[in-house]
């Protein structure tokens, strides 16, 4: 594998002048007096992406994600450092390709293709492909101003990916499209990746980042705050959003090498968590459909007026398979005092498909974790489901079926 994108010591600062006159003075007076101060948007960014890899970029609004993508695309220039990029780049920045509203989709597609450096003949060769993929029908010959935002994104994506680029950069664009088109475009992105296209993706969509990226970086206040596996970074990011006041977020490695993310204010914490099988033994491997019990021991550190325990079962990509809480189960504990530890027993049937799963727990005051977040623990427990006693099936849930066929 070869390097596709190398970003080294990259920094971006905007010159800020107290007023326009001081900019004029700085321009025309040849002395070196600096009349501006530089506002740094990105500081000392370093990362390398190998050809065919997909890197997710996550961060809150204003963290510098879009600026970073613009610099990598080349529409904006870095102030310090260096970006090396190998091969042809296609980018979907700020939801589009800069279509002109008065021209038809077809005219705009040709224009955008030419802007990307393709020849007219090349674009014409791929026009049919663009039309087919965008699926906007006869609207292709209507002015773009009559398009919905979804249609514009469909066309923009189709144009940007009509010819497989070496590097594809997507900034949130796909979140505008409908679910059908999202699936279709992700399928195309996956196909490109298999052929060696490098992907840079900015998204707030957890599923998108986790299902397509090999790696993710979390930008915070213009620096790479964290870099790692998408699931780990996403967990950290979600914990960071939930973070309020003086809460802390920490990550510890579990015995299996996975990274557990713990955040919250710490009034209560999960002390022990395990799964018991039907015989009451603590195990980590279960058969499909087995009756199990999730036992959670909670330690109370400070008196709490109201406590709700929530848990989520996630698959190996971090997608939530099932989640509920004791508020929904009508088991809200009120006025718990320190020293009064609680033990929850949650019984359920392990109706999951074979695979590895994790459980995340939340100790909160209401049923949303954004109110009072005492503790949030991702990857609190990891277990495996195997199919020992059932006929083979695909997928992540066990939906027992009765089959019947009638010959007429």
């Amino acid at each position: 594998m070869s390097t596709s994108i190398q970003v080294s010591n990259l920094g971006k600062g905007y010159k800020q002048y107290p007023n326009q006159w001081s900019r004029l003075l700085e321009w025309i007076i040849p002395t070196n007096r600096i009349r501006h101060h530089v506002k740094w948007i990105l500081k000392d960014i370093n990362f390398t992406v190998q050809a065919g890899q997909a890197l997710g970029i996550i961060g809150m609004n204003g963290a510098g994600k879009s600026t970073l993508l613009k610099i990598i695309t080349g529409t904006s220039y870095q102030t310090t450092g260096d970006v090396q990029i190998y091969g042809k780049v296609a980018a979907l920045l700020e939801l589009g390709m800069g279509f002109h509203p008065d021209f038809t989709g077809r005219q705009n597609a040709i224009m955008s293709g030419q802007l990307m450096g393709y020849s007219l003949a090349e674009i014409m060769d791929h026009m049919e492909n663009i039309e087919d993929f965008a699926e906007i029908g006869t609207a292709i010959d209507e002015p773009v101003r009559t398009y919905s935002s979804g249609m514009q994104v469909r066309l923009a994506f189709s144009v940007a990916t009509a010819i497989r680029p070496d590097v594809l950069i997507v900034d949130e664009a796909l979140s505008v499209g409908d679910a059908y088109f999202q699936h279709k475009s992700f399928a195309r992105i996956r196909e490109f990746r298999e052929q060696g296209t490098t992907l840079l993706l900015v998204s707030h969509d957890k599923a998108a980042i986790q299902s397509i990226c090999d790696r993710a970086i979390l930008l915070k206040d213009g620096v790479v705050f964290k870099e790692g596996k998408p699931e780990e970074i996403m967990d950290f990011y979600n914990a960071m959003i939930a973070e309020k006041g003086n809460e802390t977020v920490r990550q510890v490695a579990t015995e299996s090498g996975k990274i557990q993310t713990i955040s919250g204010t710490g009034e209560a914490e999960v002390e022990e968590i395990y799964l018991l099988n039907g015989k009451g033994n603590i195990v980590e491997i279960f058969d499909v459909g087995e009756s199990v019990s999730l036992r959670v021991k909670v330690r109370i550190n400070v008196s709490i007026p109201r406590l709700v325990l929530g848990y989520m079962i996630k698959d190996s990509l971090g997608q939530v398979i099932y989640g509920t809480n004791t508020y929904l189960g009508e088991l809200t504990e009120c006025d718990v005092e320190p020293g009064q530890d609680l033990v929850y027993d949650i019984k359920f049937q392990m109706n999951l498909g074979p695979g590895s799963y994790s459980i995340a727990t939340a100790l909160v005051s209401t049923d949303t974790h954004l109110a009072n977040n005492y503790e949030w623990r991702d990857l609190a427990l990891i277990f495996t489901v195997v199919n020992l006693t059932h006929t083979h099936f695909a997928g992540c849930v066990w939906l027992e079926s009765q089959m019947e066929v009638t010959r007429l």
């Binding site: 321009w27 220039y77 700020e94 800069g98 224009m111 030419q114 007219l120």
Partner: protein, 261 residues
């Protein structure tokens, strides 16, 4: 830079086509307007000034003398004003694509210049037709307009790109250019012959690069003789200087430009 322009020639050509399309979109007569407009101008100048007002240029005896004088001046000025006016706002007008796609930005002013030249050629063609029909075609001296045109385009391009880059950072430039062009137009002998202004003011007039160019055109078409090339050559040197300034400004600030749009 010239390599990239050649590489993006198809895009530049599309821009030019698009420019014409957007100008005449949704009009019944379409691009016929590109011909009707200048035609109307020539008719107004000839009918009003030669037939109705019987305006005469001092020293020129032809009926159409003043009309030809006017056309030669406005044609030349039109090319200059179009390049300057459009180049000043070209980066602002295209902010949308500048922010989203990475391509050589210099293509945009180049497309503007090409569009202006095509417009000029359409009008010139009509003007030449008019000259032939009225028996006022200058003859071999017409060839002198080729170097003059090159100088004019170089001058306009250098000034236009300079103003275009400056306008991204100082929007005052855009406002100023409109006013500047007004003053400049009247400070150039286009509607009046320089002979009608006092001697002392003529000295100032000669400092105006556009005077040199416009005068040369007028001499070719009205007096039908080779113009004195000394003035235009000085303008050529100035134009090369302007173009170098424009390129320097462009190279130095093209990176910051997107951040200001």
């Amino acid at each position: 830079m010239f390599k990239t322009i050649v590489q993006y020639r198809q895009f530049i050509w599309s821009c030019v086509k698009r420019e014409f399309q957007s100008r005449y979109r949704k009009s019944l007569l379409g691009s016929a307007w590109a011909v009707i407009n200048p035609l109307a101008m020539i008719i107004v100048y000839t009918v009003i000034f030669s037939q109705v007002m019987k305006a005469k240029l001092p020293g020129i005896d032809s009926t159409f003398g003043y009309s030809i004088f006017l056309c030669a001046g406005t044609l030349t000025w039109g090319l200059f004003a179009e390049i300057i006016g459009r180049s000043t706002t070209v980066f602002l007008d295209n902010a949308n694509i500048l922010k989203k796609i990475n391509f050589p930005r210099i293509c945009l002013p180049v497309a503007i210049i090409c569009t202006a030249i095509i417009n000029f050629l359409i009008i010139s063609f009509l003007f030449l037709m008019f000259l032939i029909f009225t028996g006022n075609f200058p003859g071999i001296e017409i060839l002198a307009i080729v170097p003059l045109l090159l100088i004019l385009i170089l001058f306009s391009a250098g000034l236009g790109i300079t103003l275009g880059v400056l306008n991204v950072f100082f929007r005052d430039v855009g406002q100023m250019v409109g006013i500047l062009l007004q003053f400049w137009f009247w400070f150039t002998p286009i509607v009046y012959p320089p002979t009608i202004i006092p001697i002392w003011a003529r000295g100032f007039l000669a400092w105006n690069p556009m005077t040199q160019i416009v005068r040369a055109f007028q001499i070719i078409f009205v007096e039908k003789r080779w113009p004195d090339m000394e003035g235009p050559l000085i303008v050529a040197v100035l134009s090369v200087g302007l173009c170098m300034l424009a390129l320097r400004l462009y190279r130095r600030h093209v990176g910051e430009m997107v951040d200001e749009l």
